[in-house]
């Protein structure tokens, strides 16, 4: 199916793409603008404007309480660099990202390879792998908080049945983050799994057929055909996952509220605390901008690595 539709797309794109380059009348260009106008308007109001006003606020002592604001210059920024809570919560976010991204990519791939089959078993696997993803964050965390509960929780029940000591997962400083990561993997791996599965199903069957005729065994097919053909999808998944993991807030806020002793508080929660709980929008804006810079750096690094690899491949 996918193979049959592809040629049509490739033949039709150059034709339409060639026209505007040859000098399109202004009228038609305006027509295009009208089509994107609704999106541009929303984008400007809800993205561009908040980004500008956030930068503006970071130089003021803007308060949610509505008291008169004064220009502070770089005072918020200076405070931020001297605030250990900023750096410890940024570290927590990065630790979460480093811990959650590899399993969310690798497990998704393994699950996709297992579920890429026809019949009832394939259906059942696809269904059960993806099912947790449709649950809202509140439900997921509620379930897992009970699973981790000492005394009567499922995990500790299994541990004690196996002869191990109980662990108070969410209240122990060096276990809480791991617990959140496990929950997150269970909850969101289904999305990456779906992307991998779609990519797997897009690999033409002829390629495997040809490989089989040439005498390649399953292992060789996996490493020489499947994985290389999935590399673009892997790149996409890693980027999406890094960004999603850096944005961690919901699960931690609901499961540990950043505790115990702030050991899991992510940077977004610290921004939220300053901006909304403590009304300090100006200071929160400064931290947001610093975090924005971190995300840009990560994205650029990832882009460099990814595009470099592609060139080497070619």
């Amino acid at each position: 199916m996918a193979v049959q539709t592809q040629p049509q797309v490739t033949t039709s794109t150059p034709r339409t793409a060639a026209k505007p380059a040859a000098g399109q009348p202004w009228k038609e260009r305006w027509g295009g603008l009208f089509f994107v106008a609704p999106f541009l308007l929303l984008f400007a109001v809800f993205m561009i404007w908040p980004i500008i006003s956030g930068l503006w606020n970071s130089f003021f002592n803007t308060s949610l309480a509505g008291v008169k604001q004064e220009f502070l210059g770089l005072q918020n920024w200076r405070e931020m660099f001297g605030d250990p809570a900023v750096w410890s919560s940024l570290k927590n976010t990065l630790v979460f990202t480093a811990m959650s991204t590899p399993p969310l990519v690798i497990i998704a791939l393994v699950m996709a390879l297992l579920a890429n089959r026809k019949g009832l078993l394939g259906w059942l696997l696809r269904f059960s792998y993806f099912a947790p993803f449709v649950l809202p964050a509140t439900v997921v965390t509620l379930i897992w908080v009970w699973i981790y509960q000492p005394g009567f929780g499922l995990v500790n029940g299994l541990l004690t049945a196996g002869g191990f000591a109980e662990i108070d997962w969410l209240n122990t400083e060096n276990r809480a983050m791991l617990a959140v990561v496990i929950t997150t993997v269970w909850w969101t791996v289904g999305f990456n799994f779906l992307l991998y599965l779609a990519a797997l199903q897009g690999i033409p069957a002829q390629v495997y057929e040809a490989a089989a005729i040439d005498g390649a065994n399953g292992r060789q097919q996996l490493f020489r055909i499947t994985l290389p053909l999935l590399s673009r999808t892997t790149g996409l998944i890693v980027v999406l996952q890094l960004v999603a993991s850096l944005k961690i807030f919901d699960q931690i806020y609901l499961m540990t509220n950043g505790g115990p002793n702030f050991a899991t508080r992510p940077i977004i929660q610290y921004i939220y605390q300053n901006g909304f709980t403590n009304y300090r929008i100006g200071y929160a804006s400064a931290i947001s901008y610093m975090f924005f810079a971190v995300i840009v750096v990560v994205a650029v690094l990832q882009f460099r690595l990814f595009s470099g690899r592609k060139e080497a491949g070619q």
């Binding site: 509505g66 005394g151 209240n171 122990t172 115990p260 002793n261 709980t277």
Partner: protein, 411 residues
């Protein structure tokens, strides 16, 4: 269909005064409030009344602050009295029209002076107190009877001093075989503030600019908390849900908590009663707070709506015996002295502590659910779990408090 549209159109055009309330009562007390609201609505068909319950603590205050900052707040909201000064009353609240309140039959003399005076900021009344809710002692009557702690009247015998307090806990632990008392170790602000208050410890200097914490007293309270956990008298780690569960399932024969779980334990058919928290140290002092009604700031406040709102507040105060059934001590003295309230058991058993309720320190970062309590929770939970020594926990808490003091106030 057309008729229905016309009807709703009429309502929203404001032919009836509108009273919208935002409150933060999600627990057993929220269920009581709902019943009280039903009665109010039935008796006031002329008022367009709407109540919304939002999640307790920071989520509630964040939303309330945003709505007030935008000038489009509901007519009335609940607010912890300890947070009043930190809520920037001059910009985010509208003063209560005292004349309207008096017209509705509620006067200053109807409240304890200490409570009423806290509602005044810069000479204006910004809040009307509904209740007081201290930290109290819950006890399982079956367990305590077996442990020989009940007097001939069937009530727990009051204990005084550290030794008697620990003896009582040991006797309960022997009876339950597990814990003596359940306590929220993940946020132990209330127990620490109670013990520190009983040692007559000060927190801020009188002008509120310096931290004047008494290290010796603060440590004494923390060391007692550490001892409770290491001796197995309380759990080393339990969150709020576990605190409730341990008392209902009998793992703990006592519970140290605010008085708002009455309904929960009555529903669970736990054999229990309540008493003031023991005076473990020198003076009676019990961490607590008051729920109040405030008028969040509206850019265009409507006279009729405000009048109806004040009448609503007065009506609730006069019916606060029903509210007290959920555990809170009525702030409105005509009700607090009424037979209907005095007959409530166990809710009237601890009413004597009302004058000794110890509010959180004054500060824009302080009050129920605010940052100071979070910092204390983060630092002191380690004392129960054993992950931090009392000394280290105190140092961490003092540093965090100092940092908050040094932060320029946003209000």
């Amino acid at each position: 269909m057309l008729g229905a549209l016309a009807l709703t159109g009429c309502g929203s055009l404001g032919s009836r005064p509108r009273v919208r309330e935002w409150n933060l009562f999600g627990g057993g007390d929220g269920a009581r409030l709902l019943q009280i609201h039903q009665q109010y609505v039935a008796e006031h068909p002329d008022v367009d009344f709407e109540a919304h319950t939002l999640a307790w603590g920071p989520p509630f205050y964040t939303k309330l602050a945003m709505s007030a900052a935008g000038g489009r707040a509901p007519e009335v909201a609940t607010l912890h009295l300890s947070r009043l000064k930190g809520f920037s009353p001059t910009t985010m609240l509208d003063p209560i029209p005292v004349d309207l309140l008096e017209e509705a039959g509620v006067r200053e003399s109807d409240f304890l002076p200490a409570t009423w005076n806290r509602c005044i900021v810069d000479g204006k009344l910004y809040a009307v107190p509904l209740d007081q809710h201290p930290f109290v002692l819950y006890y399982n009557t079956d367990v305590c009877k077996k442990a020989g702690l009940l007097g001939p009247d069937g009530k727990i015998k009051p204990v005084k001093g550290v030794t008697e307090f620990l003896d009582m806990l040991k006797a309960v632990k022997e009876t339950t075989g597990k814990y003596a008392a359940s306590v929220e170790t993940t946020n132990p602000w209330r127990i620490w503030w109670t013990l520190y208050g009983q040692l007559e410890g000060k927190f801020f200097s009188d002008d509120g600019t310096r931290l004047v914490l008494d290290d010796a007293k603060a440590l004494e309270a923390l060391e007692l908390m550490a001892k409770l956990a290491t001796d197995g008298l309380t759990p080393k780690s339990s969150n709020y849900a576990a605190l409730v569960a341990q008392f209902t399932n009998g793992d703990a024969g006592l519970s140290f908590n605010g008085e708002w779980e009455v309904t929960t334990y009555q529903t669970a058919k736990t054999p229990f009663s309540m008493a003031p928290f023991p005076v473990v140290y020198d003076v009676p002092s019990f961490a607590g707070d008051s729920h109040t009604f405030v008028l969040p700031h509206q850019a265009n406040r409507n006279k009729d709506d405000t009048k109806a709102t004040i009448e609503y507040i007065a009506w609730i105060l006069k019916h606060s015996a029903d509210w007290a059934a959920g555990g809170h001590i009525p702030a409105y003295q005509p009700v607090a002295k009424s037979q209907k309230y005095l007959d409530l058991k166990p809710q009237a058993e601890y009413r004597s502590v009302a004058p000794d309720v110890l509010y959180d320190p004054d500060g824009w970062f302080s009050g129920s659910g605010a940052q100071l309590e979070n910092e204390a929770g983060a630092a002191f939970s380690g004392v129960f779990s054993g992950q931090a020594t009392p000394k280290a926990a105190l140092a961490q808490f003092k540093a965090a408090t100092q940092k908050l003091l040094d932060t320029p106030s946003p209000v």
